[in-house]
Symmetry: C2
Subunit: 378 residues, 2 copies
């Protein structure tokens, strides 16, 4: 017997009552029943996005949703600004480059949020920029960006603000409309507590004009076709129906808790996780840490890849290590979606056990003690 | 209490033991466990495709897989030949047009298979054609095309043969390698008996050279990125893991039955369905009917849309009507995937009940009688 714990930033644990929905007999996607499902999911997504706009439902990974934003906005040869502070910022650069855009990359040090002033300057220096691309939370480093400030700056220009909220949506505070975000993409397997396979995009009125004028080749991800299907309560292509059945259930849970309470729960988990990791003697990595993921440096004596593998294979506890240049150097504990305080304590004690295994002297229970103090304080 | 019967060409019924796999706790897609899942699914897909080539696993609807074939093969301005005999042939035209190709459309009358001689002539008249696009089975009409003959003709030219086997794979006989097919795309929700959300593509060596040289913008659907991930037993983007868990189970069922027996079962169901529909006094629609779907004209006095709606809403039996110019005029019973002889009898008796409701005099049980005779004969 071995129990498994998923403390990773996507996939995230799926509530049993949500998972069970995916095992029910499938319904046909051109029926009244599907229309009801489509309606309920659409309403729930608007609520989580905090938007009055339609939220497009796409059958794809999050990366497909990212591509959809580029494919609908950027013509080959267009100039775009990408604010990149990690692997997912780099993904915006790769997709824009693949689609023939001229990319002005505004890079921040790993672990630092997007520098809002540098974006203001980049927009001044590049008044012809079609869009600014950024992350809500950069999953590879655990940083949250100041979308409200970025929204203000970009709204004053003709450019669009395109946000990857894949790891943030449903955990980290987000107000699409109030913050003047133009395109926001997300995925099902993070804060929305569903298996991967569904992706989402919502667009502002300002963005819609750009999308309608965009001449880029597109079909599967064409927002114009997706929007045309909405009055019929359907998607243009056969959607991942069983995942939508699950999503209806998880969106119901979020609505019933209230999105502000969901954000507050994530903040509380984040605060305790940070305290716990510091209690273990680790130095936090992100200077502007998000509510959905906590990252910390590992002692240089520890090979983080081996640590993460050992924790998964021997303890049954999956956490995330570092990616690319951070490979082996940091550890990341997710608290995204279907997570409560006990999951945090599992993560911290597993990390304590792992550190000890790899030769780091950790006083027993120090991480949990610090986390419990933090929980008591909020 | 109401029971529901899905006798439609996608989604198709999902075996309970397959559906249950999607409700199990999700596994992380960057682990050994996922590597095993990836391996098992890949082997099973190669078997169903009857190919030695890799089969790419894509998180998308079947239309996404169709787009992937165009995106990886066709440069803007390239000339392509599309053999179209229904809605899905038209989809090849739309996607190619959206991607800037010059389309030579070789259209066949609805209900007729692709005219192999017309394709030979089109290739002679257009020696610069990059590819010929066609369907394995055209779901909108119930026709199966002679892929073996098309494969011979196209193989003798520099063009590629690109096949949409979305509704055919896993039901209708297919030998990708022996029949010299260059790109074959498919989806999870038809003969493979899984919910929608996964799509597949396999490419020949001849096609791979074209794909590597193709300059078209692509990222999410880029076969080069997908192929590069295969040695790591993973997909470049987070895949629909729970659907892959289900797919492993359904591919296991197909392997255990033997693909030749699966094809034979579909042929037997098709033969009985055709006999049953004729027993009901209906005239068959397709001149070269496929093994996965049977289509028939409705009496002109019957509004097919109303008939199909009534059968679904009152009897709980979902069958398909006609699409576009065939709307209201034909009825389609699917026998695709998880279907046995009793499903056929449900479909035929429901259709008999519906016809009677809409004023057609049908001798009770005539359809089933004819079907039972056909079952007895094979």
């Amino acid at each position: 017997m071995k129990k498994f714990y998923l403390i990773t930033p996507g996939p995230t644990p799926i509530p049993p009552e949500v998972a069970a929905q995916s095992a029910l007999p499938i319904i046909h996607h051109r029926t009244h029943e599907f229309g009801d499902l489509f309606d309920q999911v659409s309403q729930g997504l608007k609520y989580v996005y905090q938007t009055k706009n339609d939220v497009f439902i796409i059958t794809a990974s999050g990366s497909g949703a990212m591509e959809s934003a580029v494919a609908n906005v950027v013509n080959p040869g267009d100039k775009v600004i990408v604010a990149s502070g990690g692997s997912f910022g780099e993904r915006w650069i790769k997709i824009n480059t693949a689609f023939g855009a001229t990319v002005v990359a505004v890079k921040d040090e790993l672990g630092q949020p997007v520098n809002v002033e540098k974006i203001r300057e980049a927009l001044k220096a590049n008044p012809d920029a079609k869009a600014v691309f950024c992350q809500h939370t950069e999953t590879s480093t655990g940083v949250v960006n100041d979308l409200k400030a970025l929204g203000e700056i970009v709204a004053a220009t003709p450019a669009l603000l395109v946000v990857d909220a894949i790891s943030g949506l449903g955990g980290e505070e987000l107000h699409m409309d109030d913050w003047k975000l133009d395109v926001v993409v997300a995925g099902s397997q993070k804060g929305l507590m569903v298996a991967p396979g569904l992706a989402f995009a919502s667009v502002s009125d300002k963005a819609w004009k750009v999308i309608e004028a965009c001449k880029n080749h597109r079909f599967y991800f064409d927002y114009r076709l997706i929007k045309k299907s909405i009055p019929n309560k359907e998607t243009p292509w056969t959607p991942a129906v069983t995942l939508m059945q699950s999503l209806r259930a998880s969106l119901g849970m979020i609505k019933s808790d209230g999105i502000e309470n969901v954000w507050a729960r994530h903040r509380r988990l984040a605060k305790a996780t940070r305290a716990g990791m510091q209690g273990l003697g680790l130095k936090l990595f992100a200077t502007n840490p998000c509510a959905v993921l906590t990252s910390a440096y590992l002692p240089s004596s520890v090979d983080g890849n081996k640590l993460v593998d050992w924790m998964r294979d021997d303890l049954g506890v999956s956490v995330a290590g570092g990616q690319e240049s951070l490979k082996g150097k940091i550890v990341r504990l997710a608290h995204m979606g279907y997570m409560d305080q006990f999951d945090i304590l599992v993560g911290l004690t597993a990390l304590e056990t792992g550190l000890k295994k790899f030769g780091v002297a950790v006083p027993p229970g120090k991480g949990v003690q610090a986390a419990m103090e933090a929980f008591a304080a909020v």
